[in-house]
């Protein structure tokens, strides 16, 4: 069979799937509120993974504090919609609150991105982890605005089918956005940054501007998802709005599915979800399900370095393939490409050569 046949099959089944998702609430008992709730949460985590993939996958900047945008978006919605914030006691309607959440998160992400997007590799990852904790504690002490550690409650008036459709349409839009973005010049410039940032710079790509732009976009998407979550959860405090697990899920899902691909985050999150449901429903595995999940994650990372997307494409690596990195740029191998450097600094010595002069990235910055 040739490629176009695959494509047709793929498109037809995707269309079928979307149709099924659209008709889910009409399936009576199978489309009850519980199912809708579960699928809504799954869709939201897929959306988060897609937005993480924009910076982590396309651009190669692995964000370990991504859940901070979820938290900020959730808190913006919470502050606006709850009457427990002393400074903003009015209860805003949902739509304006969500719009403000998205733009406010985008603004913060833009400012943070200007600082952290100059860092390379692991330093960017750690800085984002730092920002995550930083903002969580800021929310905790921002007394009259956020009601401190006590948290905020929002009136529970949710229409679950409607909410399901809103989430579904938004996530479908995100899938399209991610697909479309990859085909634009902007998307191409992101990939170029991932592959060879200095080269991209030399070819006249404004790398800093593009990086900050995609980071802002990624933050805005997650911020909106966080706001939507706050509305449906009806309660938030710093510890349930800022949760490391959300970052970990997005990273894990995207890695499992295939880093830097459009379908990767979707497949990976669904896979994770299915895995959890499977383990979770086995009574005998209730106590061990996290152990099993850990073993599986380790196995996938070790033996399927390109994720399930790689598997679908028939690329299964059972051996270390690190030396082939230069040519394989769909997988995680490419995500973090930096120079190896010497680390033990406590030798009596200063550093015999000045690495900065030789390799501009070695001082931890990329430009």
């Amino acid at each position: 069979m040739n490629k176009s046949v695959f494509k047709t099959i793929g498109l037809v089944s995707a269309a079928l799937l979307v149709a099924m998702l659209f008709f889910l609430p009409m399936l009576g008992h199978y489309g009850n509120d519980s199912t809708l709730f579960t699928v809504t949460l799954l869709l939201a985590s897929v959306g988060t993974a897609i937005s993480w993939n924009l910076t982590g996958g396309f651009t190669g900047y692995v964000d370990f504090g991504h859940a901070v945008w979820w938290g900020i978006g959730a808190y913006t919605t919470g502050v606006l919609m709850s009457n427990e914030s002393e400074w903003i006691p009015q209860q805003w309607p949902l739509v304006p609150a969500l719009i403000v959440s998205m733009f406010f998160t985008a603004l913060v992400a833009n400012l943070v991105g200007r600082l952290t997007m100059r860092l390379s590799g692991p330093y960017f990852s750690i800085a984002m982890l730092g920002f995550f904790v930083f903002f969580r504690e800021v929310v905790r002490v921002a007394g009259p605005l956020t009601n401190r550690g006590i948290g905020l409650t929002i009136k529970p008036v949710i229409n679950r089918p409607l909410w399901y459709y809103i989430t579904l349409i938004f996530v479908l839009f995100l899938v399209y956005l991610s697909w479309w973005l990859r085909r634009t010049r902007f998307g191409a410039s992101l990939i170029a940054i991932r592959e060879d940032e200095i080269g991209a710079e030399m070819r006249g790509i404004d790398t800093t501007r593009n990086k900050v732009m995609v980071f802002t976009l990624s933050g805005a998407i997650t911020g909106l998802l966080g706001g939507m979550w706050a509305y449906q959860n009806t309660f938030l405090d710093p510890d349930i709005a800022f949760v490391e697990v959300r970052t970990i899920d997005a990273v894990m899902g995207t890695m499992l599915g295939g880093l830097g691909t459009v379908a990767g985050p979707i497949i990976g999150m669904v896979f994770l979800f299915v895995l959890r449901e499977l383990l979770w429903t086995q009574e005998s595995l209730l106590q061990t399900h996290l152990i099993v999940q850990g073993l599986l994650l380790g196995a996938v990372v070790l033996y399927l370095p390109k994720g399930l997307m790689g598997l679908v494409r028939g690329e299964v690596a059972f051996l270390d393939r690190f030396r082939e990195r230069s040519s394989t740029f769909d997988g995680m191998e490419s995500a973090v490409l930096e120079a190896q450097e010497s680390p033990i600094s406590d030798s009596e010595d200063e550093h015999p050569h000045d690495p900065v002069a030789l390799h501009p990235t070695w001082d931890g910055r990329t430009s």
Binding site: V62, L115, T116, R118, L119, S120, G121, P122, Y123, I126, A127, L129, G130, F131, V133, F134, E137, V138, R140, V141, E244, I248, V251, M252, M255, Q287, T288, L290, I291, G294, L295, L297, G298, V301, L302, P305, D320, F322, R323, R325, M332, E333, A335, V336, L337, E338, A339, Q340, E341, S342, P343, I344, S345, D346, S347, H351, T361, W362, D363, G364
Partner: protein, 299 residues
């Protein structure tokens, strides 16, 4: 009683145990380019072993620390051979995820075996305080950890500087391929380094089990602190780790003591992580010595 002196003493006390806790993390990253996400879980396992020794056989953590070091040295060696070796040449994200998997497996296995209850290790040696005249008090349990931390630091520094194996480790860290060319068995060096660091980390868990609460999911906050301190100190820097841990301990203590209002402790956390971000952005090589990116993969 003098508030400032007390704040300084508390800061140094915390800095002492942070040093011991973070050392292993920093060296593994520095030498091998592996970010040990399961770092906190090794602390946890060490603490549980000390708890077990104390509650079953009545052995003080100070005395069980050395056997724990040896046991975990072996465990680290095996783990390195079985798992870490496979990811050492891959980008740091891969090793990070594998170690993340290890951390999930470890914490949940311990929970399965020992239950999720909080444990606290009683100690007769690490208990109470000394009075420093009328000025301040010095907690004994922290002092013990600080002394051990200094002994470990000196021993480690000497080992890295003077012994053949230590020099090999430094060479491997500086330039893996050159080290291989001059005949250093890189796999052995890595295995030894990893084992050593896991041993030290578990030992730190054993000693601090008298200070901090012990439970299966205690690890992540300590791993996060290890990140902060390593970013401040520079990778694999022994002296830098001491400096950064002390700095962080003092800073947190001073902010917690002198911050106005009732949120001093939160402000201390904000300061610590704010500092991390500022350091990375303004002075990516760290405050105490050269921080240079290490990533697996080589050239």
């Amino acid at each position: 009683m003098d508030t400032l002196v007390q704040a300084l003493i508390n800061g140094i006390a915390v800095g002492g145990f942070l040093t011991l806790m973070v050392l292993g993390f920093s060296i593994i990253w520095g030498v091998m380019g592996v970010i040990n996400f399961a770092h906190g879980e090794f602390i946890m396992v060490g603490a549980y072993m000390a708890w077990f020794a104390r509650s079953e056989w009545g052995v003080e953590p100070l005395y069980s620390a050395l056997p724990i070091f040896l046991i975990m040295f072996v465990v680290g060696f095996v783990l390195q051979k079985l798992v870490v070796n496979k990811v050492i040449d891959r980008p740091h994200l891969v090793s990070l995820l594998v170690m993340f998997a290890v951390s999930i497996i470890m914490s949940n296995s311990v929970k399965l075996i020992a239950g999720a209850d909080f444990r606290r290790v009683n100690s007769d040696i690490q208990r109470g305080f000394w009075e420093l005249g009328d000025i301040a008090t010095i907690p004994r349990k922290h002092t013990v950890v600080l002394v051990v931390a200094i002994i470990v630091l000196v021993a480690l520094q000497t080992f890295l500087q003077k012994t053949r194996l230590g020099k090999s480790i430094r060479a491997a860290a500086q330039n893996r391929e050159a080290a291989q060319i001059v005949g250093i068995d890189i796999k052995w060096v890595y295995a030894f380094t990893f084992a050593l660091c896991i041993g030290i980390t578990a030992m730190s868990g054993a000693l601090t089990s008298t200070i901090i609460p012990v439970f299966p999911f205690m690890g992540p906050p300590w791993a996060l602190r290890a990140f902060v301190i390593t970013a401040l100190s520079g990778l694999g820097s022994v002296k830098g780790t001491l400096g950064a841990a002390m700095f962080l301990g003092l800073l947190e203590s001073l902010v917690a003591t002198y911050a106005p209002g009732s949120s001093g402790s939160q402000l201390a956390v904000i300061t610590a992580f704010g500092l991390l971000v500022v350091t990375l952005v303004l002075r990516p090589q760290g405050l105490f010595g050269g921080l240079r990116p290490v990533d697996a993969g080589g050239h």
